[in-house]
Each structure stands twice: as structure tokens, then as C-alpha cells.
């Protein structure tokens, strides 16, 4: 489950930082643009988590097939995708739903996020692996 090489350089860290800036701005920007009440579906968090899972699956598969993309990989995976998605906000939203008595909504939200999130990772990997006509010849 880990990076193959334990060592890293400052360029790699800078790439992750830059990706993190973009991921955070995109997630918070969407959350500010589409706020939700305690009894409503948190579309902003739901969307970024699924989009990030899909992209991470794709980039993860791409690295395995093209390991030479060394700096783009930490930028896109740990930087952009890791930061675009969030675990803490998901839990806070669930807590607020439970606290305000919206138990069915909390159950549906956590179930949909987990099932769709896991599926998105697999779809992302499958998209990268799909046959490319130009690569055949």
C-alpha cells in the first residue's frame, strides 16, 4: 500500500504542496458556492469525494503503467486528489445529521459515499486500462 521508494526530494514535496493548494481551493470553493442545511444532502462534499476517488484511481493506474511520470504523480495523487477529497468534513456532516435527528439521511449519505467512492476508484482504474486503438499498432 506504500510508495516503493522511501526517499523523496524537495521538488516532490513542492509538487504535493502545489497540488494541495489547488485541491483545497476547489473543495472549499465548491462548498462556499453550494452550502447545505443540516437536513440536506451535502452535494459539495459528496461531489468532490467521488470526483477525487475517480481521478485517484485513474492516476494510480497510470503510474503503474507509466512509472516514469515521477513528479506529476505526487502532484496529482497526494496533492490534488488527496486534498480535493476529505474525511473530516464527511464525519462532521454525518455528526450534524445525527445530532439534528436526520438519521435516515445520515445512513443514506454514508452508504452512498462509501459504495460510490469505492466504485469510482475502480472505474478510474478501468478507464486508464481501457484498450486504446492507437496503442495497438
Amino acid at each position: 500500500m506504500r510508495a516503493v521508494r522511501p526517499r523523496f526530494d524537495i521538488r516532490q514535496l513542492a509538487a504535493i504542496y502545489t497540488g494541495g493548494v489547488l485541491g483545497a481551493l476547489a473543495r472549499v470553493g465548491l462548498a462556499e458556492a453550494a452550502p447545505h442545511g443540516p437536513g440536506e444532502w451535502p452535494w459539495a462534499t459528496f461531489s468532490v469525494n467521488l470526483a477525487g476517488a475517480l481521478l485517484l484511481g485513474y492516476f494510480f493506474a497510470r503510474l503503474r503503467d507509466h512509472p516514469e511520470d515521477s513528479l506529476a504523480h505526487p502532484f496529482l495523487t497526494t496533492g490534488v486528489c488527496g486534498t480535493l477529497t476529505t474525511f473530516a468534513t464527511l464525519q462532521l456532516e454525518l455528526f450534524e445529521m445525527v445530532e439534528t435527528g436526520h438519521l435516515a439521511l445520515a445512513g443514506a449519505y454514508v452508504g452512498a459515499t462509501l459504495l460510490a467512492g469505492y466504485a469510482c476508484v475502480r472505474i478510474g482504474i478501468a478507464l486508464e486500462r481501457r484498450p486504446r486503438p492507437e496503442a495497438a499498432g
Partner: protein, 120 residues
């Protein structure tokens, strides 16, 4: 939100991503096991901190900066899902369930604990 607020969200988001990477790498160097202990520790501590912040008096722009820019960025959903998939791929089906259930339940306990500590 003000321009300064957005700048802080970006700066904190980048720092949180770098911190997540360094902490996860430190775990990976010390623990030779397929279970993603590093991401679990990151997600649980970040969630506990968010519970504290959200339960405390912090609100408005300051809350968006710290919660969204910092702690929302530090914790990750996509890596949690990818790690689960990779455990499954490596034949550790029981660890997939452990990773999903433990993160979910302990994460909810962490947010509730943080909220309770800050409120009380």
C-alpha cells in the same frame, strides 16, 4: 470570503497535503504491514481536531479557513478508498472491512469526542 481568506485556504491546503505525505511516509518506514496505519492516524487526528474546532466558538471565515483549508485538506477520502481497493487486490479482504469499518466508526467517535470536549 475575503481575498486573504482564500489565500489562507490555499496556503493551509498545501501545507496539509505536505504534512499528510510526510506523516504517511514516516508510518510506512516504521511499520511493515499492508494495513494503511498512516492514513488511518491522519484521518482520525484530523477529524478529532475538526470536532474541537467546530464545537468551539470558531465560526464564519475563520472556521472555513481552519476547517476547510486545514483539516479538510489534511484528511483524505480518496486515499482511504484506494488503499481499501489495494488491500482487496492483494487478497486481504478482511483488512478491507477492517479499514472501512474502523475508519468510519472511530472517525465518528473522534468527531463526537472533539465536539463534546470543546462544548464542555
Amino acid at each position: 470570503m475575503s481575498a486573504t481568506g482564500w489565500a489562507l485556504v490555499g496556503l493551509l491546503g498545501g501545507g496539509a497535503a505536505a504534512a499528510r505525505f510526510l506523516i504517511d511516509a514516516a508510518f510506512a518506514q516504521r511499520i511493515d504491514h499492508p494495513f494503511p496505519f498512516g492514513i488511518l492516524a491522519i484521518n482520525l487526528t484530523g477529524t478529532l481536531a475538526l470536532g474541537l474546532v467546530a464545537g468551539a466558538a470558531l465560526s464564519g471565515e475563520a472556521l472555513v479557513i481552519v476547517a476547510g483549508g486545514g483539516l479538510g485538506s489534511f484528511t483524505t477520502f480518496s486515499t482511504w478508498m484506494l488503499d481499501s481497493h489495494r488491500l482487496n487486490e492483494a487478497g486481504h479482504a478482511h483488512l478491507v472491512w477492517l479499514n472501512v469499518a474502523l475508519s468510519l466508526l472511530a472517525g465518528f467517535a473522534a468527531i463526537a469526542l472533539g465536539h463534546w470536549l470543546a462544548d464542555g
